[in-house]
Each structure stands twice: as C-alpha cells, then as structure tokens.
C-alpha cells in the first residue's frame, strides 16, 4: 500500500474553486429556469403542463445526477475490491448516500408534478406509473446498501460485501431507470421507444436543461466531498485509538 497521508485524498484548494463555480453556476441556472416575460428563455404554453414544463430543469436532473452518482459510487467500490484502500469504501458509501438523497428528491418532486398535471382534479399523488415504480425500486436498492452495511460488524468484511452489493446495485440502474420503463406504456416521455425529448419540448429548454444537470452534479460533488472529508477525520481519530504496531 502506498504511503499516502489520509488528508491528501481530498484536494481542498480545488474543492474551494469548484464550490465557488457551482454556486455561481446554479444561481444562473435557477434564474434561467424561472425567466420569462418576452425577453429571455420563453417557453411555449402547453395545455395541462403550462409553467410546470419548467420542472424539466429540476425534477429530471435529479435522475441524471443519481445516475452520475451511481457511476461514482460503483467506480470506488470496484477500486476497493481491487486494492482494499479504506478511502475507496468511504467514497463509495458517501456517494451511495447521496444517490438515496437525490433519488428521494426525484420521487417527491415527480409526485408533486404529477399531482398537478396528470392527476389534476383528483386527490391522487401516485398511481404506479412504470417509470415511477422502477425509480422507487432503484432508490430502495440503494437504501438496502445501508441496511446491509449496518448488519455487518467486521469493518473489512463490511466494506468488501458492501462493495460487491454496490456493483450489483449499479448494474440494475440502466435497466430500472432506462430500459424497462421505456418498454411499457408510461405517461413519462420516452415510453414506447420515443425520444425523451418529445416534439412539444421546445428546443430552447435544452439551454437550461443541460446546464441544470451539470449544476446538480456539481452540487452532489460538493456534498459528497464534505462527507468524504468528515469520514476521513473520523478514521484518523479511530486510528489513534488503535495500538501502535
């Protein structure tokens, strides 16, 4: 094992630069998301959707971010199985936690959106649309990662088994969030093999949608790095309690 000091695993000056960039970026994204009035980024009015089309900038990036998180988490689990460095387990765990957070936010925001569009005039918030159900299962799969971890006491065994499970969880992502929902009739765009950007999605929305995805992934990275730094301090404190070799 290379003698890398634990504190070197997070590049703090770089973290601060990215933090500033993310804050400025997201501020512009939110301003753009709510902009209207004839001058900038007007969106067409579509029956039933109306202004809620703007949720494209908030609800959909939750899922793109969750996919990005799944890649990050699986990468670190894979590296952990390769070399057994504890930092890999720390990173995989921190990322998986944020996968659950973004997944829950995606589910809740989707439910609110559906209540005021698809289910307008009813008291319904959830009607088991295939994509919703699959996404909920996906969040539960990542939630189970933490249940599994809490069930194992030996740190090394826990890290190893959790890493293997995390790779399994990652493999399910493209199927549950992409392949299966598209093969069923769904109110979500992209069902029946249609492109997710349907004809009624005005092209101008892409100018906000893609930056929003980048911005939310940036927000994830900040929260994730904070967790990694905290977990590292925890480990260095724990290491002090262990007898010197």
């Amino acid at each position: 094992m290379e003698a890398k000091t634990p504190s070197a695993a997070v590049n703090v000056p770089l973290y601060r630069k990215i933090r500033l960039a993310v804050v400025v970026w997201m501020t512009v994204v939110v301003l753009a998301a709510f902009s209207f009035g004839g001058l900038w980024l007007n969106i067409p009015r579509i029956n039933m959707l109306e202004h809620t089309a703007r949720n494209l900038y908030f609800h959909v990036p939750m899922w793109f971010t969750m996919m990005a998180i799944a890649i990050v988490s699986a990468y670190h689990s894979f590296r952990y199985l390769q070399n057994g460095h504890v930092i890999r387990d720390v990173r995989a765990r921190a990322a998986a936690l944020l996968a659950v957070v973004f997944g829950i936010l995606g589910l809740v925001t989707g439910s609110v959106w559906a209540h005021y569009t698809w289910y307008e005039g009813t008291n319904i918030w959830w009607n088991f649309d295939p994509k919703q159900s699959m996404a909920a299962i996906q969040v539960l799969i990542y939630g189970a990662y933490f249940v599994l971890r809490s069930a194992l006491d030996d740190p090394e065994k826990r890290a190893r088994i959790a890493a293997v499970y995390n790779l399994f969880a990652f493999v399910t992502v493209p199927f549950l969030l992409y392949v299966l929902p598209r093969q069923q009739d769904s109110l979500h765009p992209g069902a029946e093999g249609n492109p997710a950007f349907s004809d009624i999605t005005h092209p101008i929305m892409r100018f906000v949608f893609y930056p929003a995805i980048i911005g939310f992934i940036g927000v994830f990275w900040l929260l994730y790095t904070q967790r990694v730094r905290a977990a590292q301090i925890q480990q260095r404190l724990d290491a002090l309690d262990e007898p010197e070799l």
Binding site: P44, H51, N55, V219, I233, L237
Partner: protein
C-alpha cells in the same frame, strides 16, 4: 410583451390512455379548492416553485446532517485531547 405561446390542446384526441387516472372519463374530477387552487393559479407556476423548494430543503437537510457529523467529530477530538492531558 410576448406571452407564452399557445399550443392546441391535443390531449383528448391523440393521447393514449396509459394511465388508469389520466384521461379516464370515469374518474370524477373534483372542484379545486384551498391549496390546490393556489398551486394551479398563474399557469401552475407555483408547482415549479414547490418542486424547487423541495429540492432546496432536501439539500439543506443533508447539509445539516453533515454538520451534525462534524459536531460529533469535534466532541470526539475534544475528548481525546482531554484524555491526553490527564
């Protein structure tokens, strides 16, 4: 000032009934009242605000949890320093 561009309503003619609720004429539609009335006003702009606020509060909640973790770390560190001084 340009207004939002109006697209013709095709939901009743081209929409496939994918869902047991949406587009189903047998599901009774209630008169909106209270909170829903506010949410649906102004071309449903408040729904977008609600979604943005849910995400904002969710992320803030997470930041608070991280802070709590840091509080715990500080306590542990202080205990250790106290132990070393004994």
């Amino acid at each position: 000032m340009k207004t939002l561009q109006v697209v013709p309503d095709t939901s009743q003619t081209t929409a496939t009934p994918y869902d047991s609720i949406w587009g189903n004429p047998d599901v009774p539609v209630q008169a909106v009242s209270g909170l829903d009335q506010v949410m649906l006003s102004n071309d449903k702009l408040f729904v977008v605000m609600a979604v943005a606020l849910i995400i904002w509060f969710g992320l803030v909640f997470f930041v608070f949890r991280t802070d709590r973790k840091l509080d715990r770390l500080e306590r542990t560190l202080n205990e250790r320093i106290a132990q070393n001084e004994e």
